[in-house]
Point group: C2
Chain length 414, copies 2
């Protein structure tokens, strides 16, 4: 169960109501016309967990993921949040960056005989991904057509170069629907297949997402439209959106959000204007001792969304010990850390409200696969709504092409 | 060796020259009058490494740090950057957050007989730190006055409650100068003592910092004044400062920078205005696949500073393998990942310059203790300069007090 609260209620003008209705219709059309595919993933992807029943993955103790950006961020988010709460989960090792030290360090962790390898790329042309894949083939002497055939999986678009590669070597292949972009792909095969093999209950994640998406299209999540509208209306003066999550295990979720928000909304709009909102991910209580000062006293250019977990299902309690000269902190003795972290979240929220910062909050009753799915769907829908209001193409990323062209030119001439 | 390049040269008005000179004089006065202590830490802290020669720390294989914010971020930054390049370094385990799951998870990693424990707090009143310390005392049945006395270290201000606690139990105690704030304290005992015990060459880190600070006060780092002036002049339109580091191991350094920048400059200035610049840390090449789109096409409200490492001292090379249907990426075969990641950094930088974004860059010739020290000093001095130009108190954090008061009231009445 997830609940949502806003602390910045505003009167809705007829214009705002029209804007919300219009954005809602755009999303409905994107879904019904299959222009945008992520809305139907939670149901479509059940085929992947079904198919996995016929593949023997029991010998794999390490799940190695080779991918970058949208091919890994969502998977890492789920692995981090559910990892400490799931029994007997397998180790996941991510190769993302072209940093030679982290690649070398990761290579040393792998026992090939106990590992399976996922190469994940919509096209197969991602330079980091293919370079690292070649390095792994070479380093572990992978016999793609023989002894190691069963341990290599490809996740890619239908008909892509990587798909042709997989078919050539008869590798297990899972496809991403063409109408699903990288940063909206966590609930496609991209996330579902490796996470299911790792031992996560992906059917429940999909179920949680489907329920939230259904509820949204049944017009039962009006708060989401209101939030999108507020973010839109204040886009000039509050152009920075902070996600302040009170759990270390939400760190990778905030990174997934940063990609989703930044890359989807940072665009040149239909009128040729540069638009976009800048996402920032924070972790409480740690960042109360870092970034909070800037939010409280700095320019009022930020909104803050809190995520808290009501019940960590952990009993760890501050012992009833009095330390010489530090007796001043005894009032917290005998309280659980669960109580402490949520009291810190509440206090920070109240101090921001008192400082007149736009604040809303999301409460998970506990850490669960279903809540994870709903949380993903919530932020994806919010992104699509704000994109519709900003009149941008939420689903492309033309701005990164120039850098790629320069890279190819520099390297080819080198 | 570190070198600095800017790609946003501007004519300097007489007003700008006065502003730079004035800020420089403020820093000189802060140092000479001992109002601000961090300038002298690189020399002062040599006493800590000297003192450690007389303490037997050879039995410790795990260095457990209990602290938060300024008490840990700098230590983590150094541990991450130098960790993969330093032989036989000891494991460091950080307890920072009040998250019950990460505390439980960390507790399970510790073998008390091989561990030493640092409690780090300027006052001793930090709620997370004392709560976790009590939990550790209870969990490991630490006998502070007997068998475990030698494995517990306190790092704190002279005369603080934590100092009185340490004296009461005759614990090893190291002090932070009163004129050094938490986020400027990494080169005090806070970072130097645990990192030296872990096996890092802290004398070289201190040496690198001292050299850069000397060079700055000898007026040999004029680029730093120019950069501070640019950031100040464009503070309204380019209020977001991105640090884009091309190495996974710089991730914690960017987090240290985020605290330093956000908490130092996000202030109400002498005229009662809210001022501040918003820091963002990115890691390349990964975040080319995430945040870059927003920088390129979104609002032009950001400056970008690149950090790159010329020589990772790692030979890992992309093998000369041609993959069926993916031959398009063969042009990168036989090149090292070192070449690839730096070519990516250069290409991204060029694409930003072509998009008219303010860009500058910092190149480390290699990962070394000395370069680490210089990099720390560089960002500390830059922060002080911009703070002087913004007319704020760079060294306090009054904005976080309200949240603490609310927390104490909520918990005491609970």
């Amino acid at each position: 169960m997830i609940s949502f609260h806003t602390h910045s209620v505003e009167e809705q003008t007829p214009e705002a109501k029209n804007r919300m209705q219009h954005a809602f219709e755009i999303l409905k059309d994107e879904m019904n016309s299959d222009k945008v595919g992520y809305y139907k993933l939670p149901t479509l992807s059940l085929e992947h967990t079904e198919r996995l029943k016929s593949i023997d993955t029991s010998s794999f103790e390490q799940i190695v993921i080779i991918g970058i950006g949208g091919s890994t961020l969502g998977t890492k988010a789920i692995n981090s949040l559910l990892g400490l709460k799931t029994q007997n989960v397998k180790e996941m090792i991510f190769f993302e960056n072209s940093d030679p030290l982290s690649i070398s360090n990761n290579l040393a962790k792998i026992n090939k005989e106990k590992a399976c390898f996922f190469i994940i790329s919509k096209s197969g042309g991602t330079i980091e991904t293919t370079s690292i894949f070649k390095t792994i083939i070479h380093h572990f002497k992978l016999d793609l057509d023989g002894a190691d055939n069963h341990r290599v999986f490809a996740i890619t678009d239908h008909g892509s170069p990587l798909s042709r590669f997989a078919k050539h070597h008869k590798l297990a292949e899972f496809n991403i629907p063409d109408n699903v972009g990288g940063r909206f792909s966590v609930l496609s095969a991209v996330g579902v297949v490796p996470l299911a093999i790792a031992g996560y209950d992906m059917n429940s994640v999909l179920d949680g997402a489907q329920e939230f998406i259904n509820s949204f299209f049944q017009e039962d999540e009006n708060h989401l439209l209101q939030k999108a509208n507020l973010l839109f209306e204040h886009r000039q003066t509050q152009s920075i959106n902070v996600l302040f999550s009170y759990a270390d295990s939400l760190d990778n979720f905030t990174k997934w959000f940063v990609q989703l928000w930044g890359e989807s909304l940072g665009k040149i709009d239909v009128e040729g204007e540069r638009v976009g909102l800048t996402p920032i991910g924070l972790i409480g209580s740690v960042d109360q001792h870092s970034f909070l000062q800037l939010i409280i006293e700095g320019p009022k250019d930020k909104t803050v969304t809190f995520i808290k977990i009501d019940d960590f299902e952990n009993e760890l309690t501050i012992p009833d010990i009095s330390l010489y000269a530090i007796e001043g902190t005894n009032f917290i003795n005998n309280k659980s850390f669960n109580t402490l972290i949520n009291a810190q979240s509440d206090a920070t929220m109240q101090s921001l409200i008192a400082s007149d910062v736009s604040v809303d909050s999301i409460s998970l009753d506990k850490i669960s696969a279903k809540n994870m799915g709903a949380l993903i769907a919530y932020f994806e829908l919010l992104t699509s709504l704000v994109g519709a209001m900003l009149k941008v193409n939420t689903y492309n990323q033309p701005g990164v092409e120039l850098g790629k062209q320069i890279l190819y030119k520099n390297l080819e001439n080198n």
